[in-house]
């Protein structure tokens, strides 16, 4: 019975939260939010009430996870299902003009818009060309091209692609997988350690990028 109740509860809440709109969700997608909010409570009940079989907590949790997995998988395959379940991004500002109807539809106030802008380092509304309220509740702001910070490319400054730094040693522990992926071996690592005058156990953080540039931080004595 609890299985059927869980299914009914899941889909009811999914629909209710869908109707509530994306503003309620914070940074999670609808189904993730739903599972996160239900699971803590479901797990707590059989733990608090020992007279309740633990299956009463486990069955709904497994059911919810399976539903979440299937819903997210199906929504990846179907655009229509995705937009039905999670909605579509709303364009709150288009070509620099605030869409008041869309703001009202999403119950997004001007104060909240200004707050989001400030939190993303945008001073003036006049700098914004587009603003989208994403399905996870976050606001994406796109500035006019003329207001965007200059990039090296725009300023014709030659750059070298150095990739991203991989963590080789974390708190004295070697991450073998990253060492292998960086294309180096233990001999190279030992050489780097001796160049920095430190042993493996004494390294707090060591990274290497694609240009083989090494960044090393030694462990400090914490009193």
């Amino acid at each position: 019975m609890i299985f059927v109740r869980t299914l009914i509860l899941y889909f009811s809440l999914l629909m209710f939260l869908r109707l509530l709109g994306k503003r309620q969700l914070g940074e999670m997608e609808l189904s993730e939010f739903l599972v996160a909010s239900l699971i803590a409570d479901l797990a707590a009940n059989p733990l608090q009430d020992i007279g309740m079989p633990i299956l009463n907590g486990l069955i709904p949790i497994v059911t919810l996870f399976c539903c979440e997995l299937l819903i997210s998988s199906l929504s990846m395959r179907s655009i229509r299902l995705r937009s039905f379940l999670f909605g579509k991004p709303s364009m709150l500002i288009s070509h620099g003009k605030i869409d008041q109807k869309e703001m009202s539809k999403n119950r997004f106030t001007l104060d909240e818009l200004m707050q989001e802008m400030r939190s993303q380092g945008v001073r003036d509304l006049a700098e914004v060309e587009y603003a989208f309220l994403e399905t996870n509740g976050k606001l994406s702001i796109l500035l006019y091209t003329s207001k965007q910070p200059p990039s090296a490319e725009k300023m014709n400054i030659p750059t070298e692609n150095i990739g991203f730094p991989r963590i080789l040693v974390s708190d004295g522990r070697l991450i073998h997988e990253n060492l292998q992926k960086s294309g180096h071996d233990m001999t190279w690592l030992q050489r780097q350690l001796s160049e920095h005058g430190v042993e493996l156990a004494g390294v707090f953080l060591m990274t290497v990028d694609d240009a083989s540039q090494v960044y090393c931080v030694k462990k400090e004595l914490v009193k």
Binding site: M1, V4, G51, L55, T63, C66, C67, L69, L70, S73
Partner: protein
């Protein structure tokens, strides 16, 4: 894709367990009710000895399902049925007139076990 298949298999498995549980519980309650009905009929005929004996059969059947009950049923439901058994047994042995009520109470608790897990609108909502 493998995870999705596992999710579908798990859901089907859970559905299977649900249906199996309903069936098992139905059979268990049916067996117990049958023995309790025989006990009740014997008591109505004035054969208290047979009534006690039939009731003991019903109690044994209930106790044989103790492991199942503790996994699938709430402790309060188990306690309610067990208490109803013991009260009825005591009133039969003491040949009290309230046995009729005790029979009704036991039937009610047994029905309640079945009702709670049945696939009916009333038990879902």
């Amino acid at each position: 894709m493998r995870r999705e298949v596992i999710a579908i298999v798990l859901l089907i498995l859970l559905l299977g367990i649900l249906l199996g549980n309903i069936r098992y519980l139905d059979n268990l309650v049916e067996d117990i009710e049958e023995a309790v009905s025989s006990s009740c009929a014997a008591w109505e005929r004035g054969d208290t000895q047979l009534a006690v004996s039939e009731l003991e059969t019903a109690m044994e059947r209930w106790q044989s399902a103790a492991d199942y009950a503790h996994i699938f049923l709430r402790q309060s439901e188990i306690d309610a049925v067990s208490e109803a058994f013991f009260d009825l047994s005591a009133s039969l042995r003491d040949e009290e007139k309230q046995s009729r009520d005790d029979y009704l109470r036991l039937f009610y608790h047994l029905d309640s076990l079945e009702r709670m897990d049945a696939l009916r609108l009333s038990s879902i909502f």
